[in-house]
Chain length 301, copies 2
């Protein structure tokens, strides 16, 4: 546990609920940094939990919330977003006063709503957070201690949050290599709808589009695909269940982004139908300029 803001944190007992790509990577990163004594995992799939123990991600598999939570100083909720309400309800009766709880949900307002409803007595020590990192792979098998290196971690604090608890969450993620920033849940959810949730919806729809072509077998069409389709659809291999939960949780923001996007795509279609080469060139240049600027910002910083 953090002794003061300036010192390196050390956890006696870290509990990971949902030992998948994100939870597993967080555990491995803290273990590699030497910041934790014991790591206990709790999860739905016994097979995945056994694999997590075999891989050295967790030391022990807990069979019940009560066993997991006894004496815990930090609990990480890293289940799919759709389960977080239920998981909070399950752990609430056994949460000890000192235990700090955080999450990694890709949407924040819905997680905060769940916390107000399920963790009402623990709001000082529930710190909502989201690491913007991931791959299209799933499960403990995919865990990687370097996953968060130089990636963004956003904390969306509650007004009830204890300052030292926020600092601990910040320090733990910084130890994982993350760049930590703080913003409101509303701002987080809007930005993530743009940079992540919308692109996923477009990519899922694009992959399904290949199957709508009545003239050819999808595998035949795909045999002629180059790197453009491959890269545009890399994220389609992500967990469908996770994405169902994310888009339902951030429904209002995502619907707004989808509507604006479709208007832009309709405009492009109209310019194309009108054979307006200059308008198309301007659309493509504007996109290309921003992309090149973004790439150079990233390479530089």
């Amino acid at each position: 546990m953090l002794v003061n803001n300036m010192q390196t944190p050390y956890l006696q007992k870290l509990v990971i609920i949902g030992v998948g790509l994100i939870g597993g990577s967080f555990a491995l990163a803290l273990r590699n940094a030497g910041l934790v004594k014991q790591i206990v995992g709790l999860g739905r799939s016994q097979e995945n939990m056994l694999r997590a123990r075999e891989l050295g991600i967790i030391d022990e598999i807990a069979n019940t919330p009560v066993a997991a939570l006894a004496g815990a100083d930090f609990v990480m909720l890293s289940t799919p977003v759709g389960q977080i309400h239920r998981v909070m309800a399950q752990i609430e009766p056994y949460l000890e006063k000192q235990t700090i709880v955080s999450d990694v949900g890709s949407t924040k307002q819905n997680v905060i709503d769940a916390a107000y409803s399920q963790l009402a007595n623990h709001l000082d020590r529930f710190i909502p957070a989201h690491p913007i990192a991931g791959t299209e792979f799933r499960g403990a098998e995919a865990a990687d201690p370097t996953l968060f290196n130089n990636k963004n971690l956003i904390i969306t604090p509650l007004k009830e949050n204890n300052g030292q608890a926020i600092n601990l969450v910040r320090a733990l993620w910084q130890s994982c290599g993350a760049k930590v920033s703080i913003m409101s849940a509303a701002q987080h959810d809007q930005i993530l709808a743009i940079v992540s949730h919308l692109p996923h919806m477009l990519a899922f729809t694009l992959m399904n589009h290949v199957q709508t072509c009545a003239d050819f077998d999808p595998n035949y069409v795909l045999s002629y695909a180059g790197s453009s389709l491959r890269d545009c659809t890399r994220i389609v291999a992500s967990s469908p269940e996770m994405w169902r939960d994310i888009c339902l949780a951030n429904r209002v923001q995502l619907l707004a982004e989808l509507e604006t996007y479709q208007k832009s795509l309709t405009e492009l279609r109209e310019q194309l139908a009108n054979q307006n080469g200059e308008a198309l060139l301007n659309l493509f240049k504007s996109a290309s300029d921003l992309k090149l600027q973004w790439s150079s910002n990233r390479d530089g910083g």
Copy 2:
């Protein structure tokens, strides 16, 4: 020049018109394979041509079509698709009877239309082709002799084509490492609209979408983007001019694909607005299953 179908081709004089990523890579691959004696380049940008010579892609810069074409046994048209009509008109008066001409255009019906109009006396030796390979980089600087390794090359022959000329084009591309197949121009243009042209339109529109958000500066939004947006927009750095030409050239097919895609995206929006988690899960699963099957087919073959 090819002596017979079974022998390795050898070119005395190869002319590359437009020494960019594709034309330059073709030249380098043939040179590395030892299949060409002299390579002459012709192009709009003197700076790019000098760089191409410096990089050893071409031996000589021709200043006029007549100088380039004298004694040529093979001419590769690798300018942007929108210029191909004009380039054909420029070379037609100087084309010698034996010279075989081919192209690398991303759309084929429009190139064929241009050939019927501009190369009417040379249709036996104009072989339309398209290598499905590329990167988002441009110019001679980006040329790479391994670019076509294990990539698809599609020939869309004319009924007037000489069989030996087709075989030469096939043999040259096979020497570059490409997998050669033959199909109709209509089929090519439909498949490419699905696997390449549509994804580019979606990616350009997605990158522009970041700039439509009134609440935040685009650079601020992008600073929170992870690998999903980065990969979905990799192709946005491609040449805007080239993409204007491609989408105008394949306008009818592309408009049909855009319309179908928009319908699917609207369906997804409706399921999301209705909070129909099961329908969303089915959409995502269907996409994810096809993606995983595609990846395993590719890894296997």
